[in-house]
Amino acid sequence: MPPPKAAKGEYIETDTGNKISRRSQIHGTQHIILGGKTVIQAEAVIRGDLFRTATLPTSTDPNNPSAPAAPNPNTPSVAITVGRYSYISKSAILRPPSRLHRGVHSFYPLKIGDHVFVGEGAVVEAASLGNHVHVGKGAAVGSMAIIKDYAYVLDGAVVPPGMVVPSWCIVGGRPARIVGEVGEGYGVEGAEGGMARERYRVVGRP
């Protein structure tokens, strides 16, 4: 068990202001883009190693050598993009989505917008999370799901694979359904949905 009080300097602060816990597990860092002022808490798992290997199946395929492969193999493909002021809580898992397309299992990038909150123990495999999205504690967002801006995923919800959650909608349940809408003031700085800056500030303070 980790000690209850975090060791001194638990968070590494990068040049762009990201606060990353030393106890987080980040794989494939060269495939991850953090927009700055992002918080990654302890025991969070970010799978940047699951990036798209488009060159591999197409190059081995003799029938079609001129497939739209990655033009330059030197440029690393991006697996996960995270916007500003996003917050990845304790033991959350970010994993790029994958799907079987024409017999080939390949990964797709996971895009996370600004001011996003991912709750404790949540598993996110979405294709994209928009801005100001809230993913509750213990929620699971299925593969290739698209969560639009200002959407709210309730605690423990299971968003099925491929689901699209429109803006301002609250989804919950297993499987998740649209159960309501957030108010018009959602996302105003300092109010519900607009606490990202404040959340960022208090991280890593003594």
Binding site: N63, N64, A67, R102, G103, V104, G142, S143, K148, D149, Y150, V158, P160, P161, G162, M163, V164, V165, P166, S167, W168, C169, P175, R177, I178, V182, G183, E184, G185, Y186, G187, V188, G190, A191, E192, G193, R197, E198, R201, R205, P206
Partner: protein
């Protein structure tokens, strides 16, 4: 309460607005609106307090002080809203909750494909997406169109296609449906289900077009498809049309056939001039309206009353009912032995039965899981919101479904100060206040004072004067003492985002912990901290003891287990009786720029075209949960 502690709710004054009745006016808990201008009469019901003269106002205020808002009263449930859900009407100068507004639909869109549906199509599509969006009939998760063939090549993918659920792994193959092309699934499905027997296992594509000549009034979108498949249908039509044992229609087709049948019946049987009514107004029920109307027309009794010739009223022509299956008749099966046998068979079992939830969205005939059909996704709407009393638009979103912008958005947070609540670290015992732990809000020890910081952040471009008031003891079973240490204070004006950025000063709430170290103990009469457009004050809260808790009898009982059980029972019976909620009355006034239409009212207007405005409302601070025992 649904939100984690600490939370703040704001009470919309509409809950206490009585029906416009002068006798009850004074009983309102709402603070009188002392705006200098007189409200137009049609607004009188929302802010009736404005009508009071100055003397009455005084009296009204006295009564307000007597009646405090009780967050626990059943009525409060209907007026308490999280701040971000409230709107503000600039005409009425009042907070508007979802109950004080009316909504108008701006656009319909499918929540799955996010395409807008034109309003003309909404009805014909049955409020559902007419494209490829379907929900799983078993678990409601969205269905994906996928191919059965494992096509590894890069050529164009060949069908057949199915809809599959990524959540419960149901596919349309389970009910024997495949699609020829991956587009326009809804009309493909419509054609299959309309033409094949419902409940039949082999939903083959041989469509029996017994009703092919009937126009389907509900499915105008199907016309495209009908044309494209006309030839195919003609070939099929030859066979089963004359077959007397043609398979029964699907429910949609039967409804359409019945509707068509009765429409022709009405057209044939009614020959009175009132017939126009039925066609014009769409009353197509068999002559119900016609008979009603004919009671009052010249041909009927009235003319008889007024001395008209008592010629016998012609009997309304008799309408016949649907007789054949092609007219939509379905004879209920006399013998349901087959179905019962199927229910009992081991391969059906409980899992084979459709649940109530599943059946609720299906046709009434659907009984087994095999009968469930994919559900086209229900459309959602974007809605504009209007003030109920003055009809001004408060919220108007952009029409495009993908857009999150608003043309008009008058949210309350732009007008009333945004309240945020934080517990202050327990500074009593520790030498370093910053290191002191913050109290656990989910178990506040009774009778031990805590301090909470209430920050009010002004979003208006005018400085605001605030007066806070709380009842000294919270209403309800648990008497918690509350003191606002500095009830009167001022909040600075909001400024542009750019000013804030250029000044580069500490953003709000950052300096708090530092200043907490510097400030030490909260003092009465002093604000705790202050920023450009925010002010923090301290509330001293002494949580009361829960009724029946061990704290009342002997403190420090070691055998708390039995007591806890008692307390739990008590708490359960009183339902969140241990939640500490503090009602706070907020009165704010500020000097606003006078609007054009209000300048001539100039009673309270200042020389520089400023009007003093006031707003008052109740707010509820959810501080935490009181511990059962010490």
């Amino acid at each position: 309460m649904s939100r984690p502690f600490p939370y703040t709710y704001i009470s919309c004054p509409c809950a206490d607005t009585p029906v416009p009745d002068p006798a009850r006016k004074r009983k309102s808990r709402e603070s009188p609106q002392k705006s200098p201008q007189k409200p137009p009469p049609e607004r009188a019901n929302t802010d009736q307090g404005k009508k009071l003269s100055a003397k009455e106002e005084q009296r009204g205020e006295d009564e307000d002080e007597e009646q405090t808002f009780d967050p626990r009263s059943p009525r409060s449930n209907f007026s308490l809203y999280p701040p971000e859900q409230l709107l503000y009407c600039e005409e009425c100068h009042q907070i508007k909750c979802p109950r004080c507004i009316t909504e108008e639909i701006v656009s319909w869109y499918c929540p799955s494909c996010l395409f807008e549906t034109p309003s003309s199509m909404v009805r014909s599509d049955g409020n559902r997406c007419g494209r490829n969006c379907f929900n799983c009939p078993v678990c409601t998760a969205p269905l994906a169109v996928s191919t059965i063939e494992n096509a590894t090549g890069n050529g164009p993918q060949q069908g057949p296609w199915v809809l599959s659920c990524g959540y419960c792994l149901w596919t349309t193959l389970d009910i024997g449906i495949k699609f020829d092309k991956p587009t326009n699934i809804r009309s493909q499905l419509q054609k299959m289900t309309d033409s094949t027997a419902s409940g039949a296992f082999d939903r083959s594509r041989q469509a029996s077009r017994t009703f092919g000549d009937l126009k389907h009034p509900l499915s105008s979108y199907a016309s495209v498809d009908e044309q494209s498949n006309a030839r195919e249908r003609d070939e099929e039509q030859a066979g089963p049309k004359e077959d007397p044992a043609a398979p029964p229609m699907g429910p949609d087709a039967r409804f359409a056939a019945l509707k068509n049948f009765y429409r022709t019946q009405i057209a044939e049987t009614s020959n009175s001039p009132n017939d126009q009514l039925s066609s014009e107004f769409g009353f197509s029920s068999p002559g119900a309206l016609n008979r009603l109307m004919s009671l009052y027309t010249s041909s009927s009794r009235l003319s008889g009353l007024y001395g008209g010739s008592k010629k016998p009223k012609s009997k309304p022509p008799v309408m016949r009912e649907a007789l054949t299956a092609s007219e939509g008749l379905q004879i209920a099966p006399e013998d349901e032995k087959d179905m019962i046998a199927r229910l009992q068979s081991p391969e059906c079992g409980w899992d084979g039965m459709a649940s109530i939830d599943q059946r609720a969205t299906q046709s009434p005939d659907a009984r087994f899981v095999d009968d469930l059909l994919p559900l086209p996704v229900l459309l959602r709407t974007k809605r504009a919101k209007r003030c109920k009393s003055c009809k001004h638009i408060l919220v108007k979103p952009e029409t495009k479904p993908q857009s999150t912008r608003f043309r008009i958005r008058l949210i309350a947070l732009s007008y009333i100060p945004l309240p945020t609540l934080r517990p202050l670290a327990l500074s009593s015992s520790s030498a370093l206040p910053a290191m002191a732990p913050t109290p656990d809000l989910n178990s506040l020890p009774p009778l031990r004072p805590i301090h909470v910081l209430l920050t009010l952040k002004n979003h208006m471009f005018d400085p605001v004067r605030i007066t806070l008031a709380t009842p000294p003891v919270t209403p309800g079973h648990v008497a918690t003492k509350v003191t606002v240490l500095s009830p009167q204070f001022e909040i600075g004006a909001n400024s542009d985002v750019w000013d804030e950025a250029l000044q580069g000063g500490s953003a709000p709430l950052t300096s708090d912990s530092r200043s907490a170290v510097l400030r030490g103990v909260p003092e009465a009469g002093k604000v705790w901290d202050k920023g450009r457009n925010w002010t923090t004050v301290v509330l001293e809260v002494v949580p009361g003891t829960l009724p029946g808790s061990s704290a009342e009898g002997g403190d420090g009982n070691p055998d708390t287990e039995t007591n806890d059980e008692d307390v739990l029972a008590v708490a359960a019976s009183k339902q969140d009786g241990d939640v500490l909620e503090i009602p706070v009355f907020v009165h704010m006034d500020w000097d606003a720029d006078a609007q054009l239409d209000q300048q001539n009212v100039g009673k309270g207007s200042k020389p520089d075209d400023k009007v003093t405005r006031e707003l008052a409302y109740w707010m509820v601070l959810g501080v935490g949960r009181i511990q059962a025992s010490l």
